[in-house]
């Protein structure tokens, strides 16, 4: 076990864990965050996605020891139900959700991509979502919500 200090959603948090522990378990268990989720543990679906240094990162295959000191943003770090981030607002406006379990992957992958590629067209956005899985088939609404956000919140 070792003490590791993380910066999560703007707050410093120190945990005492096995340094090989995937970041996901530290976020969801030690820090009791609901946003990042275990979907596959293999980096294949996106449910565990967080943003680190502007990149969408799969926290289920990222050892916690490798992210000490970096700013980590989870889905709850973007906005609140009362004051959602514009991309979260776009998902609310488009009702682009069925079960909602995949949203960390969908929202954070899209945000990280659009922050770097603000002028991306719909095809580029879709390609950027290549490793992200929604099993409910809400794809059409999700892509619409992402495009709405990319265009400044207007559909």
């Amino acid at each position: 076990m070792s003490r590791i200090t993380l910066r999560v959603n703007g707050t410093s948090r120190t945990v005492d864990v096995d340094p090989a522990t995937p970041l996901l378990f530290v976020l969801s268990d030690d820090l009791q965050l609901n946003g990042p989720k275990f979907g596959c543990g293999l980096g294949q679906c996106g449910c565990c996605t967080v943003i680190i240094k502007g990149q969408a990162v799969r926290s289920c295959i990222t050892p916690v020891s490798t992210v000490g000191g970096a700013e980590i943003t989870t889905l709850e770090g973007l906005g609140t139900p009362e004051r959602p981030h514009p991309i979260q607002q776009a998902f609310i406006d488009e009702q682009a959700v069925q079960c909602g379990f995949c949203l960390s992957g969908v929202v954070l992958t899209a945000k990280a991509f659009l922050d770097r590629n603000p002028k991306a067209d719909e095809t580029q956005i879709r390609q950027a979502m290549s490793g992200v899985l929604c099993r409910c088939g809400a794809n059409a609404r999700m892509l619409k919500a992402i495009t709405r956000y990319a265009r400044g919140g207007k559909a």
Partner: protein, 766 residues
Amino acid sequence: MNRRTFLAQSGALVVSFGAARAAVQFGLEPAVAAQRLNGASSRDLDGWIAIKADGSITAFTGKCELGHGLYTAQTQLIAEELCVPFNRVTLIQCDTALTPDQGTTSGAQSHPTNFNNADLALAGATAREALLSIAAQRLGVPAGQLSVKDGVVSVASDASKRVSYGELIGGRRFDLTLNPNARRKPPAEWTVLGTPVPRVEIPAMATGRFEYVHNVRVPGMLHGAVVRPPFANPSLTAVDARSVEGMPGVVQVVVKKEFVGVVAEKPWQAIQAARQLKARWAVGAPLEPHQNLHERLRSQTPTRDTRTVDSGDVDAALGSAANVVRATYLYPYQMHGSVGTACAVADVQGEKATIWAASQAVWPLRSSTAQVLGLRPEDVHVIFRQGPGCYGINGADTVAYDAALLSQAVGKPVRVQLTRSDEMAWENYGVACLIDQRAAVDRSGTIVAWDHESWIPSRGGRPGANAPGNLVTGTLAGFAPAAFQARSPAPAPTTFANNSNAVPSYVTGTVNGRAGGTGTIASQRVLTHGLRSAFFTGPLRSPERLQNTFAHESFIDEIAAELRVDPVEYRLRHLRDPRLIAVVTAAAKAANWTSRPSPRPSIPRAGVSSGRGMSCVLYEGDNGYCAMVAEVDVNQDTGAVTVRRLVIANDSGPISNPDGLRNQLEGGALQGVSRTLLEEVTWDDQKITSVDWRTYKPLYLDAAIPRIEIVLLNRPDMPACGAGETSVTVTAGALANAIFDATGARLRQVPFTPARVQAALASRRL
């Protein structure tokens, strides 16, 4: 918290009731009642609705949110019936200490059950009439002179005479049974129901606050991981607990018969210990090779045979027909493959247990978990918490047993979340099947007889109240799957029921002189052979209905093509149900369908060719009408199919929430595309080999998806039907028919992989 405490704290007082008591009211044995899909429900109004002193309303439902918008729709229903704003209603769902027993939330039965003149809707109507009646006494005018708005009853002619719900009943019981004659609010007067109210949970979900079952945290909670057998037909020979001795955080190795698990302080520790634990298993009988699956089904014994319809003259009609058309259709095992693996939290303390689970069936789960733990059902409390989309029985119930067994062993609360491979290798798959179709066609080109024979393997399924062995954990813990009961030949049908859509839409469905079907063909036989499956199976979104509809809707198209008739026109020629005709016509119109036979004229020999296909169904024979037109591009060089456009017409009776309905139809259609083009469970001679998203690859978010256009046929004059499984049921047929239209190649085996498309292209007749 029990119901009494909950309601005391929430300011309303309601007596609790149990399944057994409710069952007795219905004159049923409790065990029988608990097995019924729709549960024993409750006739006690106070079991459904409580009104607090401030006029706010708490409603209790036994049908849960699965990501399909039902929580919001049920809240709309209660707000509507009680004439209050949407946000004044709080809905409590699926908690065995709090809510009515409505059995399982499945089979698109929530709308039929709760939105017609029974159960939740009837409770709302009964409560409104009761409040009006009390108000009439209080205000000294006949109830007919009263009106209600926002939970305030006033005299129509003198609005100063008014009284609120809170003043009328706040915090007190109704002491009434549901009134079967209570008048529902007519759809023409709806202001909340029937409108696109945004889903209640979405802001919390989109901002990462929503509490799924995965986020339930109980003080002192430990974490468990299970060790599933590495083979499909295993037997456990030894577990060496010393192999994990000294690993950090490990609390206990748990073995119960063949169930093996590890409890640790943290989730990662539990997963690592389960990986390291040395458990030895003997390899059982080898599995039949995957590629031989369908070939074997036809000769497999024993069988359980069912005739759904049989006019008795099919063989004669086939023997004397001008033309007999034949085709065989194959469907693979497929997975629920929920995006998150299943999770549950259990706290078993001595004789009492509390389970948090994403089960679609909290009341049956309560009974079957009690059996697994050796407790009394009344000492088990199951609380529903939402999980990832489940589409049938995913791992939510089996993982509840896992958590319960581990918690019982250590005497502390335990959370278990399955690994991806443990869930995929051992879930209750959607069934594979083989379907033979034969049709007799007369000289005018009309179908005069339809013969359907199918072979469908199954094992286990929903555990109901008393068959925990229907799930992997129950089997490992020593309970057998429900016994296979051979029966051959099939008895004659006694009543018409088309729950599995085994009966095609084009026959009369006549049983005992009554025509229950939607079509015109009088000579008909539908024979199903149930078989033993090597793998666990269970309901997967549109169980058997999807498979059968793929076969029926492909076959009608094949016949139309052989006769050189437009496939929409040919369907309409054999349909008589006006609502099914209406959705077919509406979808064709919205798609700008031009009448001509399939395949299309002048198909290019190579490169991309485009086509369109139709498919339709009356889901479950009585529970929602849907027709779909698919437009596809087929790359004839690679065999790749791209779905360009899906036009869906749907009639599920009165629409509760048009946006929620659209969301369901869209999602069902895309799930249908994924399953039709991509999904198939595979295995080798010992084990399942579809164990992650590389070996079972569905549609990802980068896939080119079709434009989806939806025509909603609102039928406020009709009973409410289900809508969660209509579009998924018709998708495979629509795609097969569109591919045929584009290329002249007929795909009769799902999934339509590029290799299968290329094989069909190679054998086409052009």
